[in-house]
Amino acid sequence: MKGLAPLFLGIFGTFAFSWVGLTMIPNWQIGHLDPQMEEDGTDVYPQPQSGMVKRGARVYAANGCIYCHSQQVRADYAGADIWKYFDEDLSDDIDKDAQNTLFIITDGYMDFEHTAGRLSQEHRYTSCSQIINTLKKQPDWNTKFQKDDYGLLPVGKKFPNLKVILLELNPRDDWSGEYTLMTDIWSKWFKEMDINSYSFVKDENIEEINERIEKLMQVKLISNSQPVSWTPVKDIDTVLAAAWARDTTHASFKKKDFTLQSKITDTSNIKEKLVTKKDPPVKHSIKRKDEMSFGPVF
């Protein structure tokens, strides 16, 4: 090569390309994310770090912790949170002297389609997708489902005094048997746990959802959808409420939850549990006492 100019230009140009492309543009794209406020302006996500956290971060950096420990907490379980909840935590949350109702908000598939490395046994899985994808190619899928004992992996526990309501089921519409098979799978699984009272509510309009819930719970919900006025709840466990608010960061999920809870009038002895599919394992059951109103807790 003759002359320094092209060489210098090339050396600067190639590196500038990488510098702009891999640091400046990403910084312009995601580098300005600020903490977000809740709609009512009460909570900030992520919460500002306390002095302890900052001190912890310094200790973490100084001692080379990063070479073994991610700052993300590694889950001790990889799989469907709903399945894990039934397997591990539900029995602790059941109140033996009360009518227990469990609301599950799910699209109905329980786990992601891509489930490599997940628990399974013969034709038992933790995701409906695997079963549906296998069976829908076969004309006699219904018989096969029964005969070959397809289904969700059993958890080996019994919950005789539990009602379950699956909300927001959203089956794909590319195969006509999808919803039937999906509900068959859940029903089979519930029956194996001695759960005989359950209901499936598709992701449809609010009136229908209300109706289904009323029927199952034998309560009356306020049917018109005007904004519900509510008074701040007293005597609420603030620690639990804060934990709840922190964990349920998905805004649309909280809105739906708000609508439902605010409309249920009969509050006696209802124990509520909301489980979402992709959130971390749910630990935040909110126990309602008689004197509490059924208002939103956050």
Binding site: L4, I11, G21, N27, A62, G64, Y67, S70
Partner: protein, 493 residues
């Protein structure tokens, strides 16, 4: 390739011209003696310190209770201390030593202002010393390869400015129209490094970018340091040493051009593949994976060029220490890049990200490729600086084979262990502690390879020490690994 483009000694020139050139070379070599030897000696000292730290780190992985109640000897501090000693103490200093000598030779000019370089080396040593001390007492910043606390980083930058200003001065006084391929790589390295280092420091510590982008900048820095600083110096050195030793021009100028520009373009875009499945815009990771795959182009062109240059001269590997180390390094560059492509693919990265396999990758790049090439260059350059030839062929052979078996075993152990570890971590029914236990045999194997490398470094340091003390052989013929038979003696070994 037209041989006139290569500043090599032509096979047939008149005796008088040849002598004049030899004198000129000797003058240039003499002018670089003090600074280059200072860089080399410091680098050797850091290599020994880094090796001892490495052995300690490696043993602690399977015997964690070793000195675990002494804070500055905990694994989390000694490991970054080892890496930074090797990166900034050994590799950077030895690389700069070689680069300075190559520049002086290729610019055909005696070294002016050698004091500037001596001061640069002094400040650099001070920076590394303070930095490593800072890490051990708990001042680490926590970013890979940027762990040095800010007071050390500033000193390193000052030191570097002294060196690079010298390199620019050097270019002003160069003779001849042609700029040889080695000079492209060296000039690139000299200009990329300060930009990279400054950008890394600024974007992480002075005006830190927000949130997850910090790890993106961290990996961008670490990867570019590997490619644009060490890689560029290593390739430039190989492009000099191979043709020089066998006395033959580089096979193809065009391949060299393609290789250099594609290297600069593609390798600088790698790095984000280390963040596969992380919370980043998908295009960032994908762009880096694509760039990593595209680095096959410079690998193929550079590899082909070196291979075709060596064609017919491979028997010389039997004699020349420089050639043997350099060719091993050049081959390792290919292996390093192919492994890099493999572990960057999403399907593989899912398993091997965060496992020992990525440590294998770094060692392939920094040791099997870069360090071996630099060892080769030191075998060539040091005799020309001290006026003595290497004393024992047997020590060179021991150094070579201990290094080769050491790094080979280390790479195999870490790669195999890493893949196993990755597969186990994907298995939800295995507890995390079990996944680490299955890697233990491989980690013990790695410690064994570390012993080989330690032996090799001590042998080399001893031999280098003899040369420094003027205890080398006085001879006009270089030290060959084996007695030279008639047909090999013609070449400039």
């Amino acid at each position: 390739m037209n041989a006139s483009g290569i500043p090599l000694r032509e096979p047939a020139v008149s005796a008088a011209a040849d002598d004049a050139e030899q004198v000129e070379r000797a003058l240039i070599d003499a002018s670089t003696r003090v600074p280059v030897l200072m860089f080399y000696t410091s680098a050797m000292a850091w290599l020994i310190i880094g090796t001892l730290l490495a052995g300690f780190v490696s043993f602690k992985l399977h015997s964690p209770d070793l000195f675990s109640d002494i804070s500055f000897l905990t694994w989390g501090r000694v490991r970054p201390a080892h890496m930074n000693v090797m990166v900034y103490g050994w590799a950077s200093m030895a690389g700069m030593g070689t680069a300075i000598w190559l520049m002086a030779r290729l610019c055909r000019t005696v070294l002016r202002y050698p004091l500037l370089l001596v001061a640069g080396a002094g400040f650099w040593n001070l920076g590394v010393l303070l930095g490593v001390g800072g890490i051990l007492i708990g001042d680490s910043t926590g970013y890979q390869w940027l762990e040095f606390p800010h007071y050390a980083a500033i000193i390193l930058f000052v030191a570097y400015t002294l060196v690079v200003s010298w390199a620019v001065l050097m270019f002003r006084f160069r003779r001849g129209e042609q700029i040889y391929i080695t000079q492209w790589y060296l000039l690139g390295a000299f200009l990329w490094f300060p930009w990279l280092y400054a950008a890394g420091q600024l974007m992480l510590f002075v005006v830190p970018v927000q949130g997850v982008l910090q790890s993106a900048v961290g990996w961008w820095y670490a990867n570019n340091l590997l490619f644009l600083w060490f890689g560029a110096i290593g390739l430039g050195t190989a492009y000099y040493m191979i043709p020089k030793v066998i006395g033959r021009p580089v096979y193809s100028y065009h391949l060299a051009t393609i290789g250099f520009w594609t290297y600069a373009l593609f390798s600088s875009w790698t790095g984000m593949q280390r963040l596969v499945d992380g919370p980043f815009p998908a295009w960032m990771v994908t762009a880096s994976i694509a760039a990593t795959i595209l680095t096959i182009i410079p690998v193929a062109t550079v590899g082909l060029n070196h291979h075709m240059t060596m064609q017919g001269y491979f028997p010389l590997l039997r004699y020349s220490p420089t050639l043997r180390f350099t060719v091993f390094g050049a081959i390792s560059y290919t292996v390093f890049s192919v492994v890099g492509v493999l572990i960057s693919l999403r399907s593989v990265a899912r398993y091997v990200n965060f496992t020992q396999a990525s440590i294998a990758y770094s060692h392939l790049g920094l040791y099997a490729f870069f360090t071996m090439v630099i060892f080769g260059s030191m075998y060539y350059i040091v005799p020309r600086l001290v006026g003595r030839e290497w004393r024992y062929a047997s020590l060179i052979k021991l150094h070579f084979w201990a290094s080769v078996y050491g790094i080979g075993l280390m790479t195999l152990m870490l790669l195999a262990g890493g893949f196993l570890q990755g597969e186990n971590m994907e298995n939800p029914s295995l507890a995390f502690s079990e996944t680490t236990e299955t890697v233990l045999p491989y980690l013990r194997g790695r410690s064994l390879s570390g012993l080989l490398l330690t032996a090799s470094h001590f042998i080399f340091a001893y031999h280098f020490g003899l040369m420094l003390l003027g205890l080398g052989r006085t001879s006009t013929v270089p030290t060959f690994l084996n007695p030279v038979e008639a047909e090999g003696s013609e070449a400039h070994l």
